[in-house]
């Protein structure tokens, strides 16, 4: 059993009671809600005659269904409009802060909470969205929950949870240039499998992880859930504190110093005990692309689609389904696979550093004929910061569309979707059948820089080749600084 890990410490601090079913009641420090998974929870609360226990610990935004072309109200889709109006009414009635369209703070829930400084080390975070694991980048313990649990958190600011085991994923070395956190996490999931993390919290540690920026750590933790781990985290360090300092919801003055001291104390102890440990070498990882219908079906861009013989017997049935669905031939190189649509955005890769990496590839080039390419910033703040440094112009000049913030074609609940058997290069997190809005649509997951490279060439290509022939002129810049009132 794990001991002395950040997970153990945070768990102990948030324990409320042991429940008859054998689970533990855990206090939830930050509850994030959005328009899709909350309306039924508020309705259930009303039916039970309960109120919101800690309205100041719940924060709302709208992201999943908002259109990215025009966000003028009422929205063109009456169902989408009804969902926004329902969330607004619920927040008003219960005194919950809502960062709505045009507030300057709206965006994908997992993008805005960190950038507002709401997500902090040592917190428990819950949200009715599986990619809540993102917040673990700050050393928070963060899980996605279902609507009944959203109701539970609203009613009691707590959840019934069973304690997870802790696996340390130790990553040595450094990622090569042109290789990103997205490639790292796709590689980890490829090796450990989409079920490999079931029952575990993932602690990401080691020199390669310490070298990642906060935004890269968010990308990594975001996809812990795709590896089956309910949550993933990185121990807080100086980089974490630098990122948080000065953000609207971060502590300030003397409280800041006390906060940093407390946050430091939460990191896993040097002698911490883990239930399991696996090791990776970052330097050996190449840009990674999925070829199949789960995020675990990934290969390096210079590899070939695995043949059944190259796979474990228990992976073969799913691979067979994937060959048919994706229309990819076993043994064929993944590089050169033509794409139709290129999507840069989502809570995995819709932050400023992601847009910079993609813009560095797009700069001075043109999207290949016949390709639809679009960029959806993760939040209004990301959009404003990107526009301030001219990234929107770089993308537009290259032939990309520059859109308004939201989840967009990550799950295609808004008008952004694939059509028919179109195939997309996507910086999002799921390549499930039908995920991007067409029942037969196909998705190749990759880093934003790789998506930009696919847009330029019209097919899957190793972004390092493009970067070598024409090195980036968009400088790597310091992380986004808060520019809010």
């Amino acid at each position: 059993m794990s001991a002395g890990t950040l997970y153990d410490k945070v768990w102990d601090l948030h324990r409320v009671a042991e429940l008859p079913g054998g689970s533990t009641q855990l206090f939830i420090g930050l509850h994030l809600i959005h328009e899709v998974t909350s309306p039924q929870a508020f309705a259930a609360l009303r039916d039970l005659g309960l109120s919101v226990r800690y309205p100041e610990r719940t924060v709302a935004t709208v992201d999943h269904i908002v259109p990215t072309t025009s966000q003028v109200r009422p929205l063109a889709d009456p169902l989408a409009e009804e969902m926004l109006a329902t969330l607004e009414a619920n927040c008003r009635q219960h005194g919950i802060t809502l960062h709505g369209i045009g507030s300057g703070r709206q965006g994908i829930v997992h993008v805005i909470a960190p950038e507002l400084g709401l997500t902090q080390p040592g917190m428990t975070v819950a949200c009715g969205d599986s990619h809540t694991s993102t917040h673990g980048a700050f050393g928070a313990i963060a899980f996605g929950i279902g609507t009944s649990q959203v109701r539970d958190v609203l009613a009691s600011q707590s959840l019934a949870m069973a304690k997870l085991k802790v696996r340390r994923i130790w990553v040595d070395g450094r990622l090569q240039s042109g290789v990103f956190a997205k490639d790292l996490v796709l590689h980890i999931i490829r090796i450990l499998g989409v079920k490999g993390g079931v029952g575990y919290a993932y602690e990401f540690a080691g020199p390669a992880i310490e070298a990642l920026s906060m935004e890269e750590r968010m990308t990594l933790c975001n996809m812990a859930i795709e590896g089956g781990a309910r949550c993933g985290y990185v121990n807080p360090d100086a980089l974490t504190f630098d990122y948080l300092q000065g953000r609207p919801a971060a502590p300030s003055g003397e409280a800041w110093d006390r906060a940093v001291a407390w946050w430091r104390s939460l990191a896993s102890d040097p002698g911490a005990v883990f239930d399991d440990e696996v090791r990776f070498d970052a330097a050996a990882i190449a840009p990674t692309v999925t070829w199949g219908i789960t995020p675990g079906q990934g290969i390096a861009v210079d590899e070939t689609v695995p043949t059944p013989e190259e796979l474990d017997p228990d992976e073969r049935p799913l691979a067979g389904e994937a060959y048919r669905y994706m229309d990819l031939r076993p043994g064929a190189p993944i590089a050169g696979t033509p794409v139709d649509v290129c999507f840069i955005g989502s809570c995995t890769n819709g932050r400023l550093s992601d847009l910079r990496a993609a813009a560095a590839v797009a700069e001075g080039r043109r999207v290949a004929p016949g390709i639809r390419a679009f960029v959806v910033p993760g939040s209004e703040q990301v959009a404003a910061a990107a526009e301030a440094e001219g990234l929107d112009a770089v993308f537009r000049r290259a032939g990309f569309e520059w859109r308004l913030p939201g989840c967009s074609m990550c799950l295609a609940m808004n008008p952004d979707r694939l059509e028919g058997r179109q195939i997309s290069a996507s910086s999002s997190n799921r390549n499930f059948k039908g995920r991007q809005g067409s029942a037969s649509g196909r998705t190749l997951l990759m880093s934003p820089a790789m998506v930009a490279a696919a847009a330029i060439t019209g097919h899957v290509v190793d972004v390092r080749a493009l970067l070598a022939e024409h090195p980036p002129t968009v400088e790597r810049q310091p992380p986004l600084t808060p520019a809010l009132p």
């Binding site: 601090l13 948030h14 409320v16 429940l19 008859p20 079913g21 054998g22 009641q25 206090f27 420090g29 998974t37 309306p39 039924q40 309705a43 309960l50 226990r53 999943h64 169902l79 989408a80 009804e82 969902m83 040592g122 009715g128 969205d129 599986s130 996605g144 929950i145 279902g146 609507t147 009944s148 649990q149 109701r151 539970d152 009613a155 009691s156 600011q157 707590s158 959840l159 019934a160 069973a162 989409v194 079920k195 079931v198 029952g199 089956g228 309910r230 502590p251 006390r258 906060a259 789960t294 049935p317 389904e321 799950l411 609940m413 799921r430 499930f432 059948k433 039908g434 809005g437 029942a439």
Partner: protein, 209 residues
Amino acid sequence: MSTVPLPAGPIAAHRGRGLPLPGADIDTDRIIPARFLKCVTFDDLATGVFADDRSERAGDHPFDRPEHRGASVLVVNSNFGCGSSREHAPQALMRWGIRAVVGESFAEIFFGNCLALGLPCLTADPADVTELQEAIAADPGAELLVDLEAMAVVLERPSAGEKRWPVRLEPGPRRMLLSGQWDGTAQLVAHDAELTATASALPYLNGFR
């Protein structure tokens, strides 16, 4: 689609016909595609169950086959319900009429969502699951008894006699279902004094003092 009322109170057993749905890693996007999530109540979700898979298979999907109409015990393989945390998935299955799921393994969030709705997800050995799926396919009219007391699934065939398979469920969830305390909100609300005590000791709620 079902008119059977949604569960309430203790759940010790369920009797109904089986519905085999073979395949590993069936994710919640397939159980209920995202476009059906555009709703503010769960009431009409039954129409969206496996909508894309069903249209792809044009009437030949297990949820469309006439012999499984009215079935209520879903039998699946491994990692069922992976992917998105959407509770719409179990809600849609329940509104279609599913009242118990037996499978090799379940994704954690899906399992928790089901438990909170009173939908038992029981695990069984892979070989037993395959056998059960085949037995249902061979005799789709036979009733299944899902017994949480005896921890078994029993196929009741009037002519060929009964056949039983052991199933598993962690003691905690099992107790919750048997006692009717699977809807945990009341328990959580009851510990308000302890909740306040926990909150008052959390540095980030108290100016980091």
